[in-house]
């Protein structure tokens, strides 16, 4: 297992990516130190990078899952088309998250080999179209909940994008659940 979420930036890279923080913190350094307020801001930026990178890792897995599904030979052509559309959404999420991490001066986490995702997701146990869709539904529901659950830990600049991604995942889950013939949940607040 070589997946690495440990992309701590150097202090220089943190400041280099922090926009307005750069000149102010630079002044503080020249003056002989960094105030606790600046240090706290750096910590918050670093925390955001870590969480956003975890979200990128989640999107990498989702993209891989749809790739595995599309090439499994288990799906009807129309279902493959839907899966590739959803995969495109996940690629859009990944790209937005990668940009956010880079804007913060961080290094986006890289994807793993497809075989590693296949093993971790138990792809070898998938024997039918229904099996594939159930896995996709589980992952999409999980992703919607994950985005909703991490919002309080993210800086406010990223709340909206995380919520929008949660909405996309919930949309995918609804269609997959529908395709599998699952009933509509009776209770409100389905996700989160």
């Amino acid at each position: 297992m070589t997946f690495d979420l440990t992309h701590h930036r150097s202090r220089r890279s943190i400041l280099g990516g922090a926009g307005k923080t750069l000149s102010l913190t630079g002044l503080a350094l020249v003056a002989g130190g960094v105030s606790p307020a600046f240090a706290a801001k750096d910590d918050a930026i670093s925390q955001d990078v870590q969480i956003l990178n975890a979200a990128i890792a989640l999107e990498h897995e989702g993209i891989a899952a749809y790739q595995i599904a599309a090439t499994s030979g288990l799906l009807e052509p129309g279902v493959v088309e839907i899966g590739l559309t959803f995969q495109g959404h996940h690629k859009g999420h990944r790209d937005a998250l990668v940009k956010a991490v880079r804007d913060l001066g961080g290094n986006p986490v890289a994807e793993k080999a497809l075989d590693e995702y296949a093993q971790a997701l138990g792809a070898a146990t998938l024997k039918s179209q229904s099996d594939v869709l159930k896995l996709a539904l589980k992952l999409e529901r999980g992703a919607a909940n994950a985005y909703l659950g991490l919002i309080p830990s993210l800086g406010p600049d990223y709340h909206q994008i995380a919520a929008r991604m949660a909405g996309d995942e919930a949309f995918h889950a609804a269609i997959l659940g529908n395709a599998l013939g699952e009933p509509i949940p009776k209770s409100a607040l389905i996700f989160g």
């Binding site: 297992m1 070589t2 997946f3 690495d4 979420l5 440990t6 701590h8 910590d43 670093s46 925390q47 870590q50 969480i51 990178n53 975890a54 890792a57 989640l58 897995e61 009807e76 129309g78 279902v79 088309e81 839907i82 590739l84 559309t85 495109g88 093993q119 971790a120 997701l121 138990g122 179209q129 229904s130 869709l133 589980k138 992952l139 529901r141 999980g142 992703a143 909940n145 994950a146 659950g149 991490l150 309080p152 830990s153 993210l154 269609i175 529908n178 395709a179 599998l180 013939g181 009933p183 509509i184 949940p185 009776k186 209770s187 389905i190």
Partner: protein
């Protein structure tokens, strides 16, 4: 490639023969308030609830038996933090020197980044009853 997703959904509907009646059913996940009003579910039902919550709230990143976005959870209860040998943790987790028990897991699930600033896990379980159920399930892994 542009695809009309709504049309695709209809296609999927046809492919899988889903009922157009759109049945409504309880999702089987008791809400926290209902559980509290019940006044103490037994251990088995707590674990059962925890298992469902685990899939719903933890399953995007974790599995019991495979490292994914986060480390596998098999044997997590009673284990030292950051100690799954083939998973690469953040420095924050590497520096967290605790054993996962009811107390530490509860604190962790409440707010991971407060417990280990710099962790990649941002997910919070804000409901105490849900944390209790999830921890009860984690004990069984």
């Amino acid at each position: 490639m542009r695809i009309d997703v709504a049309a695709c959904a209809v296609s999927a509907f046809i492919v899988f023969g889903a009922s157009a009646s759109m049945a409504v059913v309880d999702d089987g996940e008791p809400r926290a308030a209902a559980a509290s009003e019940g006044g103490g579910a037994d251990a088995a039902s707590l674990i059962e609830r925890g298992a469902k919550l685990y899939v719903r709230k933890c399953g995007a990143c974790h599995s019991p038996d495979a490292n994914r976005i986060g480390p596998r959870h098999e044997g997590v209860y009673g284990r030292k933090s950051g100690s799954v040998p083939d998973f690469r943790y953040t420095k924050a987790l590497g520096a967290l020197d605790i054993v996962w028990d009811e107390e530490t897991l509860d604190e962790w699930l409440t707010n991971p980044s407060a417990m280990a600033p710099g962790t990649a896990m941002g997910f919070r379980v804000t409901d105490a009853e849900e944390r209790k159920a999830i921890i009860a399930y984690l004990k069984t892994l």
